[in-house]
Amino acid sequence: MTHKSLDLHVPTLTRVEGEGAMHVVVRDGVVDDVQLEIYEPPRMFEAFLRGRAHHEPVDITARICGICPVAYQMSAAHAIERLAGVTVDGPIRDLRRLLYCGEWIESHVLHMAFLHAPDFLGVDSGITIARDEPELMTEVLHLKKTGNRIMEVVGGRPIHPVNVRLGGFYRAPTRRELGALVADLERAHAAAVALVRWVAGFEFPSIPDRLAEHTEFVSLRHPHEYPLNEGRIVSNLGLDLDVVEYGTRLREIHVEHSTALHATLDGDRRYQVGPLARWMNNVDLLTDSVRDLAAEVGIGEAETNPFRSIVVRGLETVWAVEEALRIIDGYVPPPEPAVAVPPVAGVGAAATEAPRGLLYHRYELDDAGIIADAVIVPPTSQNQIAIEADLRDFVQSHLDLDDHALGHRCEQVIRNYDPCISCATHFLRFSSDRTGGGR
């Protein structure tokens, strides 16, 4: 059926983090309006942070998300350490990367196998897949569990780590404790490779004319390593900024249909963050084994089809397992688990790579080291405009699909970004103007 006019409303998006909806309007064969509606109530974390001590955001912001708490902890820690002029290196830096690898593994695998794969197979849940692929899904569960296990050993708990502090950790694990992860990681590596090969066999829809030159892919770029915690902010279209300048060019816009702000660069520059961006901007920093696997499954150096992001997530998972093994192999416990980070008045910012993409934090501390202002811009906020653009382009080029198929594919377009709606809904800022005499 060809849609000359259509009002497609999906009131509750499933298999995403949090609660949202989608609304697409087609009039006379032309997409008239597209809205990713995020209605989950704003959570006001930035307001909670005001008035708190400089060491508290590491714990407070971890509670924003049960899937990517490490990302919040790392961005908060780096922002405040940078303000203090403190650099964390050596084994503490390695432990942070290891912890982040654990989060990437558990988050990517949850999304790939249980949230996104059902789209490609036409089923409604990972349970159905598990009935058809019991051996693969057993190993996938073990792979995910291994990511959570890393978080438990390094971070103290499998979710919402409690062992992270400014300057490092409360306690550094022993070599023996990390060594106990090796057998699981070796088994997990085989599972991650199998998962990549499995998802690479799916049929992938496409969005016509979605070329690299039409879309700005933004990520961290570090000179020597695939980025997690550090680097400049770059894009395929020439962006190359320190995070401080990035913050000055970020603009957040409130739209009526979303409790999450939409982020742009310079007010009108649309971009996207996440695995496709990281891959495109850092492919030369991956291991040979990951690059070989990418070539085997047909992922090039600049993958732009958002539907194939599931394969890139898988490749990043393989890399994260390898990076975890590399770190554990060379690990020597630090003399102290953390370095001191004194409160310093001023403004500090940092961005790290959450599984879903760049996560920006900015903190302003007063002379007493108390937080006067906090800004958090998560990846889903930065991706909302790109998601809506994809929806518009996809619907316009697939009007021949029937209502059911089109609605299903539109949800898939959104899930391509692994949106974390709960993370995104803490930005709505409330202010009142009483100068007019009203109350």
Partner: protein, 158 residues
């Protein structure tokens, strides 16, 4: 065969703490019994199936959604009957039923899997368990101690 008790829930969320608290009490009472493993699952629930083997006897204790009878204890033999799952859900709705049915789907069910649910009165952040749940915790602990000392091969708790 190992007996495994898994307490699911959040200690900081009112009556949702019932599973972890039952585990705390069992730890204290069954300390010397090496044939019984007791642990708390406060996250990463999806991979529950990897915590047991095919010959194990497993009991999962969790809070149930508030209804009309706070503290009411329900046992369900998931070995025999599948649990209703919420279907295509947000990650916020991944619960014990999803984890158990995932275990069944991949062929990793234990020889006996009992689900013990305690109906919650409230699950507000930062609150302690309410009075009806306190009483129910004692009931569940007594049931489990009796069951674990001389477990039945299948079926519900005595």
């Amino acid at each position: 065969m190992t007996s495994i008790v898994i307490g699911v829930g959040n200690r900081d969320r009112g009556d949702d703490a019932v599973g972890p608290i039952v585990c705390d009490r069992l730890h204290a009472q069954l300390e010397a019994d090496t044939a019984v493993q007791v642990f708390v699952c406060e996250g990463s629930i999806l991979d529950l199936a990897l915590h047991w083997g095919p010959d194990d006897h497993v009991v999962i204790v969790d809070a149930m959604q508030p209804g009309t009878a706070p503290g009411h204890v329900v046992t369900f033999d998931a070995t025999i009957e599948p649990l209703p799952t919420p279907g295509a859900v947000s990650t916020h709705e991944i619960d014990v039923s999803v984890a158990i049915e995932l275990a069944r789907a991949i062929g990793r069910m234990p020889s006996r899997l009992l689900l013990v649910g305690v109906e919650a009165a409230q699950t507000e952040w930062g609150t302690p368990p309410s009075a009806p749940i306190d009483a129910a915790i004692d009931t569940v602990v007594d049931l489990l101690v009796a069951d674990l000392v001389a477990p039945r091969p299948s079926g519900a708790l005595r």
